[in-house]
Symmetry: D2
Subunit: 339 residues, 4 copies
């Protein structure tokens, strides 16, 4: 098949390369001509504008939009003006699923189809394949099936689940038509919410291991004290890289996330390279808001998101208020150090 | 009655002054002679050593220990050697209730009584009276009743609860024999756990109010952004001091804590004086551990404690691990700023 | 002044009665004629329809809407058609502040003013006064000042805060113009969020106290066990009503909420009357969503909301999933009891 | 090597079988003779008492204890009386690491060695190998190396981590000497804490997906309502089994836990077999208590534990207290249904 790709960043480039390797044709546009040029060696043709991209594709056209979430709306609007009845716009970015519903409605007014595709796989996707969660009309998803199948990891990427012995289903190939407009990004949103929780679980456990020396370490001095009665129970100087490595084989917490973390900690157990100011994206927030809307007590997913806020100092005012209260009723002084 | 007081710090001095004002006699010992001396103007006699304190008291003696939790054990041990059968040791500090059980057992071997008294009231106690939660044998509590009654706020400190129209009970006078050894500090421990939760609830609400300007303020730039679609809903520049003040009258959240916070924020709404590195004491931690022991899902009390840990940077390693994971699977860079 | 009141439920009736007692004139409409009739003995005139209400008021009219949140939009729309330029609509219900912004805009197109007034005080408001948080244009708030002043508790309802010794400010009288459209309900929303947190803190602490007997009680049997090594530390049979009562005087957690809870527990410490399926309203949810929007790590307010979801069984599917996982990797069986 | 095994339950039997398959000799004792008998077909010799087990082993002996945590102490004490200087006791169960320290000290008084070995792998361990986290003296761990190596999954169980290109280290074979006495169970404890968090993250996400139909489903009626304005955004009827399956290939959340959950949900997406009353074991609780001791803000691991408490109804009293408060200040009635 022939696909137009808008966006030649890390994800867009990876998708394009994987498609071309699978024998599909891919034309790419990106405002940055260098990003486009880097793809030509891999057999991905490049164009210099959105109209050129549209002109270069056979009808009915299919255009995959892989741009930062903040830019997606404008690109989809532009495509709505350039494309013709029967064409398909695929949003593979991290859009809010409610925006998908609105965009699908708007394009449908001109007979243009819209699919929302949550795309997971990160920088490894080009080799491992991308996990694809798809929303939109069934017949359009069916039309694009060769593209999705080429991008997805394929059934061989994992052993088949016990109980799945008959014909291989779509989900087992690594992509899934999840439902109508927005369904793909809804599922991707929840996926990322889970990802936040799993990351936080592992990170918190690592932090407990690291502080298991608090009975003997210099960190035990000052405010970070462990009660004297318990100090002798915290005298372990753990090799966290080795611990993560041992968990990779045979343990219940083995996971791809653990694999990657083990490698990172092996490189530097102190993680000095990293600031610890952790960004969050829309999906984590939208997951929490969905949980609140539907009334699911998602304590873990919520805590994982809020920890990221706190990592960026956004809880400071609340903490100053706590200090002020402690001062008011107990005379405790937790003063700011004069600059 | 005549009471010996060990400790002339903020709390010990307050207790001694309130007792003397009520017509009791109080002899105080503190390793800091200046602290002892400051009390003489208020009619509190001072001595220079623990043996002198014991010698100055009529039998059966009663000695109230009001020293930092870390020093309580040694003082109680010393008193165990100095006192006689029938004397009473009262620990009014913030001891772990399990230590009370051990101390009561140890003193009982020599016929010495032990009461544990959780004492709330902070710096205002001398005027408002102290809320007292008492553990130990009933007859000993009864013997010390005049002291407790003098220290407690008295029934007039609050309107009687609907349904309490008959004879005034002990609890309504502001002190309570809660149960056997450790019961007083157990109840005080839970009291402080609740205090943590209420403080955090108020502080978090204040922080939301303060950030309600994020759609228009400079803080909206950079990583602390609100989605553009929502920015127009966060354009409020609230007067937090006035808001706390309005809540003090007639609202469901009116409380003594609110009263004190309203005054602090009125003094400086930016709370610049305070570092926001919030200490925690044993009670908050023991409350969480008790909740875990007895299996109560105390999400709020736990979160309030953990927020204090995070305020002191103790979550940094976990957050660095999150950054390392994000870098590993997504190529996101959250690098430390080179020193 | 003369005020029209739409809604004669618990809150609307309370507001009307308090206004009439203060010498104002109040005309009320409610679809339930009995509710209207019950107010006539208190000097509140009643009418049988919204147009009659409008006709009964002098220009410029002021109409206070005090109906369930779900009905507010329709009433405000109706008033928009019935009122004239210069009239004022006041929404005293629990509306979402973003709806206020839309309603204020819609009414402004016809020159009609709109104020949003978060109203706290519950069933006690008629006697204690209502805490009022007001959003809208300053001159309109000023025009309605006599009404707000009459409804609010007044400065005498609490001691003035230290540092507030000059002229009494509006907030000290128990009402506050918080900002533009939506500001009143935004502040009320956060107020309720804090209320959720404070309620949960107290309730969790009570639950720990209640389970402090787990080392000796029948509840210790079966799955709800405490480790044998610790059982002797949980042998307290606390009188929770007495404990709450003692905290009412002199303790740091004294609050109006504590006062009411002490009375309820005094009536029945087992709280058998109550199901424990706790409802939540919009404010609690909106507070969490606002915290997520502005990036404040409000762990406590969030946990308090989620606990209510769980109380209604809405976490059951997630827990079944946990059981399924435990069965899958560990062979643990947590089977449903056959019906 | 020759190893004595105490305990022929699921885990003990699995360890014994895997050892024998690898060419080691294993003698087993269990109070249940049937459990012992079932192992004879696999070449595991059985004895009828602990003294017989000790008599059957060559010196220096090595005895692995694999019994329920509550029974471990007594078995280790018995072995302390039966064994000789230079023998080794290995505790492979889920003991509290502080008990290991005490047991190691007690046995050392008689020259008997003690190793604590956290063992992960569940029912799959016999085929996949067991992940082993080991505490104790280095020379004793070295002596037992053939046993550990045979039980562990081996380096081939996972691709080597990037950056680990030189000689295969112990951790890469799936077992690790973590530190002195207690270190093995400390690491296993944290492992299980992480496991709780990862399980909860996945379960919560599944629950959000399942309730994404709340805008159209029967569950939307009654108290479980979504605001009308948002109902149209929750009309998805997701195939959760297919979604978990798609995540198994290429997504960031792929993990062994996901593999098992996908199979369970494929068998029954409604999980009707499971009660949702989720047990917790010591490790989850000890992890939280360690986090509190060392001051790590482990919000996620804590929330995951507390959710299990709530799943068993242990939050009910707190929720009844919330209902009582709502009734007291707002007149809301959340009454228990009469039996």
């Amino acid at each position: 098949m022939e696909l137009g790709m808008v966006g030649a960043g890390r994800m867009g480039a990876g998708l394009a390369r994987r498609l071309v390797r699978a024998g599909h044709t891919c034309v790419v546009y990106d405002p940055d001509p260098d990003a486009v040029g880097r793809l030509s060696a891999d057999g991905v043709a490049g164009v210099g504008s959105l109209p050129e991209l549209v002109a270069a594709l056979p009808k009915p056209r299919a255009v995959w939009v892989m741009v930062p979430a903040v830019a997606t709306g404008a690109v989809v609007d532009d495509l709505g003006r350039l494309l013709d009845r029967g064409d398909v716009v695929i949003d593979g970015g991290n859009s809010f699923y409610r925006d998908d519903i609105a965009r699908a409605d708007a394009l449908a007014a001109n007979g243009i189809h819209y699919l929302d595709v949550g795309t997971s796989g990160g920088v490894y996707g080009i080799e491992r394949g991308f996990s694809l969660m798809i929303g939109g009309d069934a017949e359009v998803v069916e039309r694009m099936d060769p593209i999705f199948r080429a991008l997805a990891p394929g059934v061989a990427a994992a052993p088949r689940s016990p109980g799945r012995s008959s014909a291989v289903e779509q989900a087992e190939r690594g992509y899934l038509h999840c439902g109508g407009a927005g369904a793909g990004h809804f599922v991707k949103m929840v996926h990322n919410g889970i990802e936040y929780g799993q990351m936080a679980a592992l990170a918190e456990g690592m932090a407990i291991l690291r502080n298991a020396d608090i009975g003997i370490s210099a960190r035990a001095r000052g405010e970070r004290s462990v009660p004297i009665a318990d100090a002798r129970f915290y005298t372990y100087d753990f090799d966290i890289a080795a611990i993560l490595e041992v968990w990779r084989r045979g343990s219940v917490v083995s996971s791809w996330l653990l694999d990657m973390t083990a490698a990172a900690v092996h490189a530097d157990a102190d993680l000095r390279e990293f600031s610890g100011r952790v960004a969050d994206s829309g999906e984590g927030r939208w997951t929490v808001q969905a949980a609140v809307d539907v009334g699911v007590p998602a304590h873990v997913l919520t805590a994982a998101l809020l920890e990221r806020f706190a990592s960026r100092g956004q809880g400071d005012y609340a903490c100053q208020a706590l200090s002020a209260m402690r001062h008011a009723f107990g005379g405790h002084l937790e003063l700011a150090v004069p600059a």
